[in-house]
């Protein structure tokens, strides 16, 4: 294991991390189709039996991948996502009225998450203006003859992200397309927990390559790695 010093007190165990995640919490999770989602934290949340979660995530992944099992086990009260098509159980729960789903177009969802992380009060977008389903209940603003939807920022009690490396301050780098929504999700939580493949000593990450500055990261946990089978395997 690592000889990294925990000088900022941010490195904790997965057990300590899930102590912060309780029934009824809002949980924002990085990842896209399960890729780039934190496997060990998600498993620990299932094991703890957390219920009634408001989940904010790009999508509901696949039934056995990423946030999929949380959905499949009925732990999600409401999901704020861009699509649920790859997880048939999500569609079934929605149909049966057992899970509420708020759909946002994918690029608007991630901008809402960014707005939450960047301390903005909202964004105006021209995507979906007048749409019978997706504009429902959203205020509009007219500027210079154009109509925009006012989209609200998203934040959460806890943000969970998955990264390739962290240093003890919480600076993060990601791995290829597993970066996806993680840098934005990392900014948007009131508490952000980063599950990482490797914790490296302070100074080992080049300041130039850091994608998420450590100030956005509250805690760091060592990942046990992915234990699900990918859809292409």
């Amino acid at each position: 294991m690592t000889m990294v010093s925990n000088e900022y007190g941010k490195i904790i165990t997965i057990e300590q991390a899930v102590e912060m995640i309780d029934d009824g919490c809002s949980l924002m999770v990085g990842g896209f189709g399960g890729i780039g989602s934190p496997p060990s934290l998600l498993q620990a949340i299932i094991d703890k039996g957390v219920q009634q979660i408001t989940l904010i995530c790009n999508d509901t992944a696949f039934p056995h991948i990423g946030v999929g099992p949380l959905v499949a086990q009925g732990r999600i009260k409401k999901a704020v996502v861009s699509h649920i098509g790859s997880n048939p159980i999500a569609g079934q729960l929605l149909h049966e009225g057992k899970m509420e789903v708020e759909f946002s177009p994918q690029g608007i969802l991630i901008e809402r998450i960014r707005a939450g992380g960047a301390g903005l009060g909202g964004i105006l977008v021209d995507i979906g203006v007048g749409h019978e389903w997706l504009a429902k209940g959203k205020p509009t603003v007219d500027i210079d003859g154009n109509r925009y939807l006012l989209e609200r920022p998203l934040t959460a009690d806890i943000s969970l992200v998955y990264a390739k490396k962290a240093d003890p301050f919480g600076n993060l780098i990601y791995d290829k397309s597993a970066r996806n929504t993680n840098p934005l999700v990392a900014m948007a939580g009131r508490i952000t927990i980063a599950e990482v493949e490797e914790i490296v000593p302070l100074g080992e990450l080049d300041p130039e390559e850091i994608v998420t500055p450590g100030i956005f990261v509250t805690y760091i946990v060592q990942s046990n790695g992915v234990d699900w089978k990918w859809i292409w395997e």
């Binding site: 890729i35 098509g85 901008e111 597993a178 934005l184 859809i231 292409w232 395997e233």
Partner: protein, 218 residues
């Protein structure tokens, strides 16, 4: 549709992609398109999860679980590729920097409205990134079967399914025909063997204008 038909559609769609274009491919049939591009054609493929410069599919056993397209399938990248977050990916899309997107469809109307995200009471997969791609991409190509599983036309006067975006589709490529959406309505340009013009008309629930010379694709 059997694999042969899906591949014929993908093969025809591949002809729309020319050198230097930036292209975003939806999941399903669109993802087959790269297989039909000539080796020397240089298309820049973007994926909304945060990749610009997608290359060939990796060989079996050489997949990287952290290098996948928006559909979750392994890819490789070409020289000059970059990784970024998905907010940046959609900034590119909303700013109109994508030249072509190829999307699947449930219905397309004669003025180019696209419905491809839900069937009320049945399936609600969600819009994903399709709404922004359809609304903001310079050229939107829809690839789909000409009729649905019940034999009903998917090219219609007015969509009965909830829309993804209005007046966005430029070209429709099906297993029966290639149809352009023009300001004057739908223009039938090509017919795929073994079908003929009459077949296409009878399977289409919208007015079709005939191109001056309708090409037959064998």
């Amino acid at each position: 549709m059997d694999m042969g038909v899906r591949e014929r559609i993908a093969k025809r769609a591949a002809q729309e992609l020319i050198d230097g274009m930036v292209v975003n491919l939806g999941i399903g049939i669109p993802s087959l398109i790269p297989n039909f591009l000539p080796e020397e054609r240089r298309i820049i493929f973007q994926a909304e999860n945060g990749i610009l410069g997608i290359g060939k599919s990796p060989k079996k056993g050489e997949e990287d679980a952290h290098l996948c397209n928006a559909g979750g399938y392994p890819i490789t990248v070409v020289e000059g590729a970059s990784y970024f977050d998905s907010a940046t990916a959609f900034a590119m899309i909303r700013k109109g920097l994508i030249d072509v997107t190829v999307l699947g469809g449930l219905q397309v109307s004669e003025r180019g409205d696209l419905a491809n995200w839900m069937v009320p009471g049945k399936r609600v997969p969600g819009v994903g990134g399709a709404m922004e791609l359809a609304q903001k991409t310079k050229k939107v190509i829809v690839v789909m079967s000409h009729v649905n599983k019940d034999g009903e036309p998917k090219i219609v006067q007015q969509c009965s399914l909830p829309l993804t975006a209005w007046r966005c589709v430029d070209l429709i490529i099906t297993d029966m025909a290639v149809i352009e959406v023009t300001d004057e309505g739908l223009l039938l340009k090509e017919v795929m063997a073994p079908y003929d013009v009459e077949d296409v008309i009878s399977c289409t629930a919208a007015r079709l204008k005939m191109a001056s010379a309708i090409k037959r694709i064998e």
